[in-house]
Amino acid sequence: MAELLVVPALLAYSEAAFAYAGELRGPGLAGRLATWGVRIGWLAQTALLVGQAASAEGFGFPWGTWAGSLNLFVWLVVGAYLIWGCTPRYRLLGLAVMPVAAALLALAWAGGGTAVEDGERSGAVLAVHVALMLAGFAGLTLAAGMAALYLWQERRLKRHERGVLKVRVPPLDALDRLAARSVLGSLVLLTLGIGVGAASFERGDFDAAMAITLAVWVTYAALLVLRHEGWRGRRAALVNLAGFTLVAVVLPLTHFAS
């Protein structure tokens, strides 16, 4: 029965995604509906994850498959978004995050990642490794959402759009700083995750997915270093999105193909 919780979660995330589009016309009811959609969906998904964890015998990690990982990943992304999403000023960030979250959850569902069954469980070290990596990638997803919002609003300001003050968008400077902080936090999690993974590393294990993970780490570390040299704003947002392309496209392809 617990696996049916994916339905309200998916419905609530989808409702939030549509409602955020309504918020573009101005602050009001649509924004509040969207925020409640995120909250309700996240609670439903939390209950689903608890149900999946409870079905494991002894210590286990029931999200070891690609679909299971995606399910956990969506929960982490939405949870991280909720930290800012509840404040009206950052509400529009949901327009970048929630459609992606709804689509990925649907994909996880289709792939069987939301099923509650006593299947094969991963070991403790692998569980910690996967959890840390997914949390890091969730933070990077949020940072990418902020970077996308930054580029959109910067373009509107540069073009002197008449309605630039009508839509309540987070300030450019705040988006830039928050994205950098998210990248820093995510990089710490990735470093820990890579460290835990390296503990169980054996010669001959190195594959394309690991190479891309390291490339992701280097890209974001370079972004933080370059920020100190003046690579802020537009340039930082572009590097951020380039790094996220590795996370969102290249990494899954190489990981699940290997």
Partner: protein, 412 residues
């Protein structure tokens, strides 16, 4: 019962030449209120001068005479432009004024403070006190419950709102002001009101720059020293009367090299323009000229007009409440007389029976009779107030006075 009279002139029907004849400062408003005697409040802003009077008899002629007298030789022209409203219509008008719905820019915030000042400087009695307090409440309510006052309504406030769009909180943000004219000052004050710091005022005539810098707590500078200041500023506001460009793209590009990617908002309010339009092409630079800002203001004003419908509903609701309260004044003396009569009867009957009762019994009887009378009078009181709101209050009051013989002793 006192009735409310409003006589006034505003930007809707009177040109500035007429309005300036009757424009009064706060001291003059106070003096006129006192001279008029009784309940009187005078509201005078750059867009209107209005007299609010509460009198037992018709006060319209008195108010018209007071206003036309202020206009002197132009009194005749002014009389034709005057509007005259009474009771509920006058209240509705004041509530719309306090809400900013009668202003040139819908929802502008300054008028609420002006209404408060007029109220404090005036000579209100029970009626005008209630009227102005409710008007201030209405003004606040409209601004809280609608978004009519949220968006910028002028070029300086649009510039400040854009700065917030780029930087968020403006506390600690440094502003470089080029030019020491009125436009520069207005924009600077708007930025300061949102927390920004005016760091430097640069002007061709250093003495003028020093005057404005002194007022804003900034440093004065000659225009040729601007290049070095660009490295530290967050916002540049330019409104000089120079005939050519004051800041080139190369100058800003040079400053950007040491800014380490910090964004820079440049606002050019001058015509002809002071800042090279090509500056907008530089990364991290956002340049707005006066036409860009006007377009932003026009767009946000259309949003304010959209909010005005909701604000009008709130104002009408508040005016309805005031009408009910005002109408209830018709029957208040009757209710008071009725209660006084029954209390008198009760007291005399208790006094007559007093000798036969112990102290404990007397207190008990007092309590019981008091409760009986309160319950007996409750419904008639409510019904009379309802009748007053439906304009039947005078009829009900007469019937009650006749049935209970209220006021007959005084007449005899």
């Amino acid at each position: 019962m006192s009735s409310l009279t409003l006589v006034g002139v505003s930007h809707h029907r009177a040109p500035i030449e007429l309005r300036e004849c009757v424009a009064l400062d706060l001291d003059a408003c106070r003096a006129l209120s006192e001279r008029l005697g009784g309940e009187a409040v005078v509201l005078s802003t750059c867009n209107r001068t209005e007299l609010y009077l509460a009198r037992e008899e018709d006060a319209e002629e008195e108010a018209v005479a007071a206003v036309t007298q202020l206009a002197g030789d132009r009194g005749g022209d002014l009389a034709a432009a005057l509007y005259r409203l009474r009771d509920e219509a006058a209240a509705l008008h004041l509530f719309r004024v306090a809400a900013g719905l009668d202003s040139l820019v819908p929802g502008e915030g300054e008028i609420l403070g002006q209404v408060r000042s007029a109220f404090e400087a005036g000579a209100p009695g029970p009626l005008l006190d209630r009227l102005f307090r409710q008007a201030l409440h209405t003004g606040r309510r409209v601004r809280i419950e609608t978004a009519i006052g949220e968006s910028p309504a002028s070029v300086p406030s649009a510039a400040a709102a854009l700065a917030q769009q780029v930087f968020g909180e403006l506390h600690g943000r440094r502003v470089l002001l080029l030019g020491a004219g009125k436009m520069s000052e207005a924009t600077a004050r708007n930025l300061v009101s949102r927390g920004a710091e005016i760091a430097v005022v640069a002007n061709r005539t250093l003495a003028h720059g020093e005057d404005l810098a002194g007022k804003l707590g900034a440093r004065a500078l000659a225009l040729d020293g601007v290049a070095a200041e660009l490295e530290h500023a967050d916002v540049v506001v330019s409104a000089t009367s120079a005939s050519g460009l004051v800041v080139s793209q190369e100058t800003v590009a040079h400053a950007l090299r040491v800014r380490k990617g910090r964004p820079l908002l440049l606002v050019d309010l001058a015509v002809p323009r002071d800042l090279d339009p090509a500056i907008n092409e530089l990364e991290g630079c956002f340049l707005y000229d006066v036409d860009d800002l006007r377009a932003v203001v026009e767009e946000t004003l259309s949003g304010r007009r959209g909010e005005a419908a909701g604000a009008e509903r709130l104002v009408t609701e508040e005016a309805g409440r005031f009408r009910d309260w005002h109408a209830a004044l018709d029957i208040v003396p009757t209710i008071a007389s009725l209660r006084a009569l029954v209390e008198e009867i009760r007291d005399s009957e208790l006094a007559r029976a007093g000798g036969r009762l112990s102290e404990r019994e007397r207190r008990h009887v007092e309590s019981v009779t008091s409760q009986i009378l309160a319950k007996l009078l409750h419904l008639p009181t409510i019904r009379m107030k309802e009748a007053a709101a439906a304009a039947d209050g005078v009829v009900y009051a007469d019937v009650v006075r006749h049935l209970f013989g209220l006021g007959e002793e005084e007449r005899r």
